[in-house]
Amino acid sequence: MSTVIPIRAETSGCTDVVPLVERGQREVFCGLTGIIWLHRKIQDAFFLVVGSRTCAHLIQSAAGVMIFAEPRFGTAIIDERDLAGLADVHEELDRVVGQLLARRPDIRLLFLVGSCPSEVIKLDLSRAAERQNQIHHPKVRVLNYSGSGIETTFTQGEDACLAAMVPGLPASAPDTAPALMVVGTLADVVEDQMRNLFDRMGLQVSFFPPRNSQAMPVVGPNTRYLLAQPFLADTARALQSRGAQHLAAPFPLGVEGTTAWLQAAANEFGVATEVFEQATAAPRQRAEKALAVQRQMLQGQRIFFFPDSQLEIPLARFVHRELGMDLVEVGTPYLHRQHMAAELALIPEGTRISEGQDVDLQLDRCIADAPDLVVCGLGLANPLEAQGITTKWAIELVFTPIQGYEQAADLAGLFSRPLKRRLKLAA
């Protein structure tokens, strides 16, 4: 069987690509949406949005039925009394936070999450968080970040949240050996698999964010971190400022991405080739076998990505290189060249990459291109289907476990299922 898939492109790929940058109407979520998976991850944290009824309605719509299981998120809705200055906003916030913590005594970490309205009225949530910290110390820690639409797009909400946690991470002892940290929310099942793989390579690894706020990973100049998600620009910068060093790698999507991602850590920590091979060979072969089935369905199909989560470029790399799909357009809300460098090198030269969005113009292009599969948000999916275009709704790619070997075929299945369904219903 094959050994490690070589990470080298025949050409420089899209490394020097000049993306099509567009400004206009954007059909994307704001960063508040990140709360929906973040609160599942950090089990003793509560996310309190300070915003309007629109914010509450957004989270409710995005959370679907999850809202009913005593969720650990909510909205402090600003009303006209707050705006007119009739009520002291900070006192109001004291009251709401007190009410909340009395109701949920199990909460140890509280995020005050900024929104467009709170940013526009320049409500100083960092000061509010400090104040709440003094009131509720030591039982509850209070942090703040902004998930507003004017500043963040969808997954960038996670970036802002993690970046807010970094300054408070405990410092690692200065003379300890280098240690590995994996940064970015992974489903628990994926996290366990990754931990297991690193174990087999003899590497101690910590994950950030942790599952519990009382078990924050340590950070310092001896920290080497791998990004598990592509949307963590600010978090990376914050970690860098604590002395941590980034290990450049593609993202762990598909067999190739996962292997290269693990390899980056193995190389840094001097894991012997045969140890790496032994740790990864079995799951790699399993995943390759499972992917081969999916490849038959997807080979040669033309795919178009609307911008949504910044996962688009790694996903495009995966579907192109491992499933044989042709890339029509790869849209991303934001292109971080440094974090995306390893990915861009693997995207075929000449691929149309777009950053930002003018949704009407992009829809025009999409319809003119007539791709076989379009990855887009739920606001566009049914309207495109009604025009005879097969779609895969993008948000599922954020909520479903897709990283690592064992999920590679599941990830491919997310792309093949709509095409299969179309064939079945047409028959």
Partner: protein, 542 residues
């Protein structure tokens, strides 16, 4: 500030979107930050619309806040005009844009568009979704409705408009169809339905009809009242939800038009008979709690009380605009109305009242699920399953049929409940028995010996009532006894008597066994014969 986990209504601009999306040639240019497009998916996913809502968002970002947001708005409006070529444009602000105080109305005016532009003032920090829809429809009417020519052409039949149905409305699609049919049968033609599937030209003609039918006061009443003030156009006050209300609605329409009242209900009016049929007897006095929008709550209370024979033990609404109507309604049932948009208050009240049935929104469905109480959905907000593919009106006679089925279904059907009570101890039906469709999991011996009363997994409480005086073969459910306890002075069954016992229908066999054994014990009989069995039957049937 108000702590919120769940909200019954969205912000008012979502109400405006519901009106714009309902109509065919209106475009809404909404001054809003990136992210507010989430509302599109309410329409494309929950209502499963095959098209994008006709809304252009300006999508301003933090870097735009310096001062060119106004220009951004003008660009968006200009581009929307060129691309979508609407017959009228709505312009307005979402909650964040309201704070930055650009003036969409003034900015749109400066563009000198050739179509009517309606500027919406929707105070996001005071009002909510239904108010937004109502205000938008009202403003559209004010801007668009033409005064009819004085020489109206004489029409063969009276005409009316149907006001209120919108996008994302709970069963609006089918209610419109049902009420249109009902009006047609009465001899009334429907001129315009608005805002649902109306064009700008349709709205312009609203004043030409003889009267208005207000199906959903939350959205249509303000416009209907304005049309009455401006054009002397009367409107209906009865919402035809339920058989009684539908009849009242017919009476009202006949009074408005001078048409003759039909002698009897149409042939599809089944709900009334179903409620009278003996199987519905068990519905009598079932304790019901009702929550939702004002219109559906007031109607549901009447149906529950007068048409189903339930007892209304509590009701409430999140529609503050109609709090007075709901309070008046609650008084008729001797309860206090709960006016709140906090689902925790609703949950607390349900907890305290412990009703047997909850009629509510999606939220009450989840409260009910947590508490193990049957529940049916009567009002928005609802999830995707309540925008069904099948025909499912709430209004008119077919609507009454749908309501009967929907409300009764979660309760156990009367016959089913009765039978399960009777069979509670049978080997096939006791609490520990596996469902028969999954195949038998018990030992074969038990299956071939049906005369042996199977052990009951959970003991049934024996009624402490005095000795039963009814016959051996009885349908009395509560008095069915547990299988005979192994007591020291227990009489033994002769084989003949055991065989005779086996001839008694299995669902009362346990009771017959117990009564006979008790009789034998009282009489000091050691061996139960066939004679003893019938002596016991005669004894207990006195």
């Amino acid at each position: 500030m108000q702590l919120t986990l769940w909200t019954y209504e969205g912000p008012p601009h979502v109400g405006a979107m519901r009106v714009a999306t309902a109509m065919t040639d209106v475009h809404y240019v909404l001054h809003a930050p990136q992210g507010d497009t989430y509302a599109d998916l309410l329409f494309t996913m929950i209502e499963r619309l095959p098209r994008r809502p006709p809304v252009t968002y300006t999508t301003f970002q933090a870097r735009d806040l310096g001062g060119d947001t106004a220009e951004l708005f003008k660009d968006a409006a200009r581009q929307a005009m060129a691309r979508f070529n609407p017959a009228a444009m709505l312009v307005g602000s979402s909650c964040t844009a309201e704070l930055i105080q650009d003036d969409p109305g003034g900015l749109a005016q400066a563009l000198k568009l050739t179509i009517p532009v309606v500027a919406l003032e929707l105070p996001s920090y005071q009002r909510k979704e239904n108010w937004g829809a109502s205000e938008t429809f009202y403003q559209l009417c004010r801007h668009l409705v033409h005064k009819p020519d004085s020489g109206k052409p004489a029409k063969a039949r009276p005409t009316c408009n149907i006001l209120g149905p919108s996008a994302l409305g709970f069963r609006h699609r089918d209610d419109v169809k049902e009420i249109t049919q009902l009006l047609n049968q009465l001899g009334v033609d429907v001129a315009v339905v608005a805002p649902l599937s109306a064009s700008v030209a349709d709205v312009q003609k609203l004043a030409e009809a003889d009267f208005n039918v207000v199906l959903y006061p939350e959205i249509g009443l303000a416009a209907a009242q304005w049309l009455q003030r401006q054009f002397d156009q009367p409107y209906t006050k009865t919402v035809p939800l339920g058989s009684h209300a539908t009849r009242d609605f017919i009476t009202e329409v006949c009074a408005l038009t001078g048409l003759p009242q039909p002698a009897q209900d149409p042939s599809n009016a089944h709900a009334h008979w179903y409620a009278k049929s003996v199987d519905s007897t068990y519905l009598t006095g079932k304790r019901v709690y009702i929550f939702g929008d004002a219109t559906h709550v007031v109607a549901a209370a009447r149906i529950a009380s007068q048409e189903m024979g339930f007892e209304v033990v509590g009701l409430g609404t999140y529609s503050r605009e109609f709090a007075r109507e709901v309070r008046d309604c609650a008084k008729r049932y001797g309860v206090e109305a709960l006016i709140t948009d906090d689902y925790l208050e609703v949950e607390t009240q349900i907890n305290a009242l412990q009703p047997e049935l909850i009629l509510g929104t999606q939220m009450e469905r989840h409260i009910a699920k947590r508490q193990g109480i049957p529940c049916a959905v009567i009002s928005a907000p609802v999830h995707v399953q309540d925008f069904p593919a099948r025909y499912a009106p709430q209004m008119g006679f077919e609507g009454a049929n749908v309501l009967f089925d929907t409300w009764v279904h979660p309760l156990m059907m009367g016959l089913e409940e009765h039978l399960i009570g009777m069979f509670r101890e049978d080997f096939e039906f006791h609490a520990g028995a596996a469902p028969s469709h999954l195949g038998s999991t018990r030992p074969a011996a038990e299956n071939v010996a049906p005369t042996v009363a199977a052990p009951v997994a959970t003991p049934v409480v024996v009624s402490a009532a005095p000795a039963p005086t009814d016959t051996l073969i009885t349908h009395s459910v509560q008095k069915i006894a547990v299988p005979a306890q192994a007591a020291s002075n227990q009489a033994t069954w002769s084989p003949e008597a055991e065989k005779e016992l086996g001839k008694i229908p299995f669902f009362v066999r346990g009771k017959a066994r117990r009564n006979t054994e008790r009789f034998a014990q009282d009489q000091g009989v050691a061996t139960i014969t066939v004679e003893t069995l019938y002596d016991a039957k005669a004894h207990f049937s006195r």
